[in-house]
Symmetry: C2
Subunit: 336 residues, 2 copies
């Protein structure tokens, strides 16, 4: 992890006189929410301070000097954009996913890409377990029950379900999925998984078919990234295989699940519950979910902690400094 710059002055960046120019594709909330200044050994272009619309700004002379782009998961880096910014040699995204970046175009142009690496995986794994716990043990639903004054008027809440002994299928056993598994083991859950490939060094049963995984589980936890292979990977068929008492947690991306089908099954009680940090059309979520007591809704905030944000600020600065000092990136994204 790069140290916080400023104490010993900025490191020399290849002896350049003018600081490298970095285009901020969106407001860097990780810095602003922590009241952390942007490092002064770079010049940052802030399109939102320009009177021009973003598209026009990117074609303007102001954007021309950009040698790097900083973005997050919500601001796409397209082939067209890269064509208009021929000086760009590095893209850093503060997101865990990279599905918003045209990696093929980056590869074609020799543009390096760096991402959040492992900075978020503990927080995301924590929230995955928290959402599963909440759906099973009805934590949010019980809180609503009490706040509405129903404990004294209507008595006890309905029975919830024990976490221990549950068969939990992890979809995507990467950095996040492995941490979810470790946590769930401490609760006595029986973990199995689906992933692109079987992992030779893990003790959990592997299912190459996600429907088969679902059929053998009480809950699925979606931890994989979004790409062409995983888009709508969780179909109606998979959800039906999970069964009426099945639960789904999604901390990956909304579009990994066929959301329309999932909502329908939840409404029809063909699925027991869901804990969702991600949705297909954020921040809009299907109206039907708002009326359901057996879902827990989280506003894509799995990484919204000062700890994760501090790590990502360090990574952003560290990758920029490394790149412009001809050193290896701290958290490179490998092209497929």
């Amino acid at each position: 992890m790069a140290s916080h710059p400023g104490n010993d002055g900025p490191p020399p960046l290849l002896g350049r006189r003018a600081p490298p120019c970095v285009l901020l594709l969106c407001h860097p909330i990780e810095f602003s929410l922590l009241d952390r200044p942007l490092p002064d050994n770079f010049r940052f272009l802030k399109p939102w301070e320009s009177p021009l619309p973003l598209d026009d700004f990117l074609s303007s002379a102001d954007a021309r000097p950009a040698e790097a782009i900083l973005t997050n998961g919500r601001a796409p880096v397209t082939a067209d954009m890269l064509r208009r910014l021929p000086g760009v040699r590095l893209v850093f995204t503060s997101s865990a996913g990279v599905n918003h970046i045209d990696l093929a175009e980056c590869r074609r142009r020799g543009i390096a890409v760096a991402g959040a690496g492992d900075a978020y995986s503990e927080d995301v794994a924590d929230l995955a377990v928290g959402l599963l716990m909440d759906v099973l043990r009805k934590v949010s639903a019980s809180d609503r029950h009490v706040r509405r004054g129903l404990w004294s008027s209507e008595g006890e809440v309905a029975l919830s379900s024990k976490l221990g002994g549950k068969r939990v299928g992890i979809v995507g056993l990467g950095k996040i999925g492995l941490k979810v598994a470790k946590r769930l083991e401490a609760f006595g859950c029986a973990v199995s998984y689906n992933s692109r490939n079987t992992k030779p060094c893990v003790p959990y049963p592997f299912y190459s078919d996600v429907s088969e995984l679902a059929a053998n589980c009480d809950a699925l936890v979606i931890c994989c990234g979004l790409n062409e292979q995983t888009h709508h990977m969780i179909t109606r068929e998979v959800l039906l295989a999970l069964g009426k008492e099945g639960m789904i947690v999604n901390v990956g991306r909304g579009s990994i699940v066929d959301e329309k089908e999932m909502v329908q099954l939840l409404v029809q009680a063909e699925l027991e519950g869901a804990g969702l940090d991600v949705f297909e059309n954020e921040p809009d979520i299907p109206e039907e979910l708002l009326a359901l007591d057996n879902v827990v809704l989280s506003p894509h905030s799995a990484v919204f902690t000062p700890e994760s944000f501090s790590d990502i600020c360090n990574l952003a600065v560290g990758n920029l400094e490394a790149f412009f000092s001809n050193k290896p990136l701290l958290s490179p994204v490998l092209y497929q």
Copy 2:
């Protein structure tokens, strides 16, 4: 664990002709919620089916044959009651706590007492971690934010706090506390504890003084039982030692915490948050808590799972059968 009776017929109870008579001090919801019949090798007295008020019923001829009492944590077993039921030789409570039973009077009368033993400790430990997670990661608060439509209108929620690295002090390192510790270790928390005595075989730092524990922690998790020593053990001073960013989780009993002081500190933001499954005057809870976004309120439902209820039904039947067959109790409560 006793097996479910019925398959091989009830076991012989000391060759008695008439089945032992068991007074149900309250409706046995563990059986009714699971649609599980009461075992037919006992005769159950159900005061709520009598036109008499409970007190009168207990003095009536109908109650006279009672040889055992089944109760839960909400129906006290008093010295006066035991005086009126001289045939009682066993009290079984389906609760983890036994503070509602006059143990001194039981000892004086040679009445055996059995309780929930370890049946609930996993569920209670799970909910303790769930409440801590919810308070730290703002799960319920985020769910409210989304359900009110504020995600699209007001944007992101406030930052929440990472679980990993938090210093968590467990008050009462018994069956439940140890399970909380094991779970929190998987999240990377630094566990320390206060207990009646230091536990020689655990790796966590021990604090004999609960204020000192609080001063060295980010969160306290109250897991101990309620007795004269622990009543209002968590004073204003302890909570102030925890500090403005401190959080408290209570899955023990409401009266272990000085609730009035805790509520005041939460309202004044002298305490960061609270996750509470228990309260001093259940089901009534302090009105001020309902308005706070940084508390999670749970209606004393830590053990409300079919799994725990099934275990407790087995224990109730198993202890009764053991007692009336002159065998050792499955989950005896040892008098102090």
